[in-house]
Symmetry: C2
Subunit: 310 residues, 2 copies
């Protein structure tokens, strides 16, 4: 493989890639220069090693342009295309990697995904995020505690931003039959760091299949399903925001997620709940956050919350 | 550099990239499997070697989505972004590379660029493609012959599709003050393979600067100028279509084209023309085409004309 790539590569102008990299002027900041240098090298190596033709390249350009045309404030197709190629999960791993020396670990992260919306409604502990009457959903009481991962102390004022799909597999912004902001909510912990609310046991669903990401999934002869999961962003003053998902162990796609986001520590069990007319299941799960201080000390880099530009 | 990349790489899940590649099902055709395997490997290596963060990746996704949003039938921003990274010139080189054993070579190719339009007006030999009165343009009489690159015989029925910028540096579709299809035309050769028409001596110009490609040029601290050039697509029955550009030797950007398309054999001289009230310059240039037979024999792969999907 390497020798094949080598012999293909040497057919072409050996100075070309260097000339493109060297076209960069003196004012490019060091980090950007390093990233662009590497990007150009990888792009060109990819083209040479595979002898990409003009027609193949143009088909890829059209696929990328179509991602942009389909994207708006409710849908990010470019992101979804990266997701099916494993890229969001990989940069998530890179960004949040703790140095291996850390004795204990905060809750693992998982990708944000394209369905988060800002300004989800603020709710009281004990409320339900289910806004319409759903007869066929498995109502679930979720509860737990947000703690400092080093001290184990409860964290006051932690905001849980939670969202998941309806039983039909659709997020509310994909589904005109759901109320705006259905199955979304933000909850803020008190002194004890505890949280409790009602939601549904989520449903596995295919990623949107009508655009370039869906076409890529088809080209790769893969299924488009994500295992059932609940999304969270958890923020608290002085702590690194945590973006994660938890996955239903009983879901048949838990071992082959179409966007490669599952981690063992994020797999959970929905337990039968007795004596609560409002829920058939209960779901205990705790979140452990790293303070900015700890994160700095143990080598976590980058930010973890969606930025304002999203 | 290699060892640095290596040590960064080993921090991360060593099985992740393989698991994404292996998610491909059995029905993926071999060529597509090879290309996607390599694409995923390069994308992931790039992310690991540079420790790309979620925020950096999301900025790139937004840049790509914006390319799509800006693209329409008159503008292809995704293509332009590739151009400033040298990728279109590279796939052009790959696609049209002749095996080195070929004794003679047809005319070299150059990138199509984003400004070609289909159905340019058909014109008669001797016509001008200048549709409005341009006082400040350098009118030029271009002439030459289209021949078979092996036999040297003239090619009858060869269509030259030609386009270039106005003196203000704009193609007609970028400029509401130019008539539709200004400075574009299609000419068909007779038995002698000869062509002759009037055009302008073209002007160097910046690539469009108001989108993501322009932003990339700025990020790279580079100038956005292309050396003055005239575009051609030449098609004839039985011959491989030729997509190329010819460049004015006197242009100051001829050695540092912002999209890396210049080749030595495509650099031309505009000569003073005497006794013609319609032109101050003349430009002799011949085009040599490879037949499909010859192209196959000597190893040229791929097609060279813009496909219907453009």
């Amino acid at each position: 493989m390497a020798s094949e790539a080598q012999s293909q590569t040497t057919k072409y102008d050996p100075n070309f890639t260097r000339s493109v990299v060297n076209s960069m002027g003196p004012k490019v900041p060091p980090r950007l220069r390093k990233v662009l240098d590497s990007l150009i090298q990888h792009l060109h190596d990819f083209a040479r090693e595979n002898e990409i033709t003009v027609d193949e390249w143009m088909a890829a350009v059209e696929l990328l342009n179509e991602c942009g045309r389909m994207s708006d404030d409710k849908r990010n197709e470019g992101q979804l295309l990266c997701d099916v190629l494993g890229l969001e999960s990989l940069v998530d791993e890179i960004t949040y990697k703790m140095v291996t020396e850390a004795n204990d670990l905060p809750t693992a992260t998982a990708i944000l995904g394209p369905f988060w919306r800002k300004d989800a409604p603020k709710r009281q502990m004990g409320d339900s995020i289910v806004m319409n009457k759903i007869e066929d959903g498995d109502h679930t009481f979720m509860y737990g505690q947000v703690t400092d991962y080093t001290t184990g102390e409860p964290i006051e004022g932690a905001e849980l931003d939670v969202w998941h799909t309806a039983p039909n597999g659709l997020y509310e912004q994909q589904d005109p039959d759901q109320p705006d902001m259905n199955l979304r909510g933000r909850f803020t912990t008190g002194k004890d760091g505890k949280f409790w609310f009602y939601c549904l046991r989520p449903t596995s669903y295919p990623i949107p299949f009508d655009g370039p990401a869906g076409r890529m999934i088809q080209l790769m002869d893969r299924h488009p399903y994500r295992p059932a999961h609940i999304h969270f962003i958890i923020k608290a003053p002085g702590y690194k925001p945590l973006v994660t998902q938890i996955f239903d162990r009983r879901d048949k796609y838990v071992t082959n997620d179409s966007v490669f986001a599952v981690k063992d520590s994020l797999i959970v069990d929905f337990l039968p709940r007795n004596g609560d007319p409002k829920a058939e299941f209960e779901l205990p799960y705790d979140f452990k956050l790293a303070s900015f201080e700890q994160a700095k000390k143990s080598g976590v880099s980058g930010t973890t919350a969606p930025s304002a530009s999203l």
